[in-house]
Symmetry: D2
Subunit: 308 residues, 4 copies
């Protein structure tokens, strides 16, 4: 498996495991890396928004990259979004030196006009170097930057080193269709589309032309099966599988506490030792944990992966 414009399947958005005292949990990092791999993922994305990247010190970021890259046999993408290009360049060059397959870059939240967005990525790639393969992250709900289809197309056309779109516009199904239509018409070169947004529309996204998912839902093994079913044209089976998981997917996708749910599920599955987050971060109440338990118990009736 390589990171390229034809990448498909599931790239796991990795959480960063901490112990209760807030220190990095390196044993869990290894287990998590193995877990993603054994779940059939085609890649792993680390140090993204859900990886609590801004809460890490620079040396910790490098240590995590080194550990995951050494252990993984699948491509590792490193989130390098930063308020300034000096830090972005530094992290990107270090990541590549440490063996990462590429980096992921999101627009900085202050950008507004089409020109500002296109210019920003021009400057970012000038800083990072056009030899570094990268993923364009399109996530308006959190980043507050809205990229039209035309802007995405322009960025991709301007930068051959952009191999993939992490698509998490919302609503976003039409955007996938329009980008794929532009390619069909010969107006846009090939690139991979993996979808985020917690997987909330992963029943329809592959049908629209997405190549898979890049998200951190606690059941990556289900996500890989879902993408395969969809690719095999087994529409009803794909939707059946998706629908069984949707109540939990929906619960996990709540802004702010979503990461707490995700870590709790991974802990219950035995992958990470603790569901602790570094501050600032929201914890689950007793009631919320019981609700997640109930959802998992209900899911277990339809998917044995949840029977733990």
């Amino acid at each position: 498996m390589t990171f390229s414009t034809s990448s498909r399947g599931v790239y796991a958005i990795a959480t960063t495991p901490f112990l209760q005292d807030g220190s990095l949990d390196t044993a869990s990092i290894d287990r998590l890396t193995d877990f993603y791999q054994d779940s059939g993922c085609s890649g792993i994305t680390i140090l993204g928004i859900m990886g609590e990247a801004p809460k890490l010190e620079p040396a910790e970021s490098r240590a995590i990259i080194k550990q995951v890259v050494s252990r993984a046999r699948i491509p590792v993408i490193v989130g390098v979004s930063a308020p300034g290009f000096a830090a972005m360049r530094s992290l990107a060059r270090d990541a590549m030196d440490l063996g990462a397959a590429g980096v992921m870059i999101a627009p900085t939240p202050s950008l507004r006009t089409d020109d500002q967005i296109v210019t920003y990525f021009g400057q970012a790639i000038e800083a990072v170097g056009d030899d570094v393969p990268w993923v364009l992250q399109d996530y308006p709900l959190t980043l507050n930057v809205v990229m039209s289809v035309g802007v995405v197309a322009k960025i991709i056309s301007n930068h051959p080193s952009c191999l993939m779109l992490k698509h998490e516009d919302w609503p976003g199904l039409e955007k996938i269709s329009k980008l794929r239509a532009m390619q069909k018409a010969g107006d846009l070169r090939p690139f991979s589309i993996l979808c985020g947004n917690g997987g909330m529309f992963l029943d329809f996204e592959p049908e629209r032309g997405a190549d898979g998912a890049m998200t951190g839902y606690g059941f990556p093994d289900m996500l890989t099966e879902l993408i395969d079913l969809s690719a095999a044209g087994k529409r009803d089976a794909a939707h059946d599988l998706f629908d069984a998981h949707l109540p939990l997917i929906r619960y996990e996708q709540q802004l702010g506490i979503g990461l707490a749910v995700r870590k709790y599920v991974l802990k219950r599955r035995g992958v990470i030792t603790s569901d602790a987050q570094r501050k600032p971060g929201l914890a689950l109440s007793e009631t919320a944990r019981a609700e997640v338990d109930y959802l998992i118990a209900r899911l277990a009736q339809r998917d044995k992966r949840a029977a733990f």
Copy 2:
């Protein structure tokens, strides 16, 4: 059924039906009113955000109030949120004169601090009159005003005429629990909580203390059954019903095109003649319509209400 602090069940957020040419579709307004009533709703809320209120001329708003109030045998709430208090007062007084049971008021989007929000509602109620029963709408995702539990409690304590909270904070389950806990502790007087957000968390919200739903999902008949099941303590049955509908609920809850989905479902159910919206408004693509059809067909296998 009355509009009071102990209101429960489902208040339908009514869409405003237009003909293809953009004119008001009065025949559909009657059918829609009957449909909500026959679905077991305890009330109807008109002229809300999803009722395209800002796209109506003042005379049209009055005509709609008159028509719905005359036909309905359940309480009618009228959305009166407006940029200025003169228009808010005028619409609220007219609504009450026309027989409405109460009004619904959302905070104006520029409010930021706790004080600003509390003061705003003080001024709003001074304008509208403290004899007008009202619903407090808490909808940060769209209105961009975040009300803490303390602020909601203060507004409710300040204004005895506030009978109900339309709860659509997201994530919002903890907020319900905390408000109900304040009441249990004797720190807050009684008020009804009905939940919005398209019903996305209506499996857990009643368990947390909500009295029901105030939303416009195309299957209000399912919503009323769901609330009844939950009230009867039939937890698994309630979740089974909810889960069957969640794929469609989720599809309908997309910001921007959600209203198009909702109107399309109501049209397919034969309730309204056209799914036209006034501009600005997003239409469904052919593919999106086919996706909704597919979701309805799948739903029909589990709920005969969808077999039309």
Copy 3:
């Protein structure tokens, strides 16, 4: 004087005078209309953001238009920005029927991408009618919509009925230069540029190519002299006059309380009876009023218009 693509000078942004009890002060409306005219203004803009338009009932808006248009011998522009196109159309058509010279339209705050903005004005003009002359308002600080030079150019090219840009981007001097350069290069048709932002950059804006000001500063008689001095090439004299007023201009331009300052100055000049605003609105503290008095007293030493 006519409203056209070659309009120049000062269009006064009219405040709406209220009596202490919040009712419309029609006597002051007449005095204010005369005052703007006698100050040498080329036009008057009513029902803008600083005219407390959203706090008026529809019938009041019409009454104000009627009164000002009947009395003024200079063009009257009417602000018609509204959340929906039905209300916008209705007010615009009524305004033209009542004798207004044109209307002013600002983008709705939710717009983000270039396409969304261009489309919005397309729909607005379709609603209002392409026979209605209009002013494009570009005011990102308050409206939160950022229009690039390219977007402004596209809107102007798409709509021959757009005769003027109300420029109040901030910072915005380069935008004027770039738009004028596009015209020089033959890429953009003629249109008038009048500047807002309280006049904070009116020393340089005409030098960059602006045709004048559209703002409501309490000394419109100074603004007209300033534009004339600048047009006559008397650079130092223009800056001397501007600099004398800048401390007060700056004080008046404070978001939120700027209107209170403006009304207070107009009241002290004897133009309006009361500086009351309708709610919501911020009042000046005793200290703030004393500060304005001090600024006026200092100004009177350099400009006799302030010696009242």
Copy 4:
């Protein structure tokens, strides 16, 4: 001079000088440090928003702290605002170890409710350590977090290590008056208030109770004289001095290009070698530079400090 709750005068917001190629200009850092000191400043604040802090790599930040602290004989405050508490703590502890007098902390832009803001500073101080003296930065225009008077008072009451408020709310004169009134009434302990916002209201802020300025205007020598005049009760003289500088202060306070103006002025004064900024950053056009030159030439007629 010490950093304490009774600090007064001017704390210069230091720019970070770069050479044309973007590398740190250490010679200019020394000259700039001397310049601020020789201008009568009581302190220097480094690595703030206008110090391009997010564009620096961690090692560079430390190098700058070391250099400025070693050279300065006045207190040095270090901006440590960061998206996560790990980086904030790390920079704060390093800064104190290197000899800084304290740190400055701004709220993270996502905060909305009063509780969220108060909690954030609680967590920040827990991370940084309550032995580190700090400045609370209140800058809603850029940070988009609005702190009411009550919230500021609560943070100051909660944290004895908070010695100073950097006040740059806008409009903000009433906030100073209210905080000082709370102290007079015995409801709030002493703390210093220095004002930012580019100095736009520094004629009135000391009269309201501010102890001075914390801003980076290119004439810190004027700022110190202004604060002294005001403290000596020479009101007219203070306003005369302020008014002479206001046209340039106003020009420099433009969001986005303000830093370019500031660096250009410091370069013209011979303090820094280049006005280069790291990307992203806006450069001055030829016309803009000529406008600044013109403003300086006009200023030189009234203040000989500008005659260079």
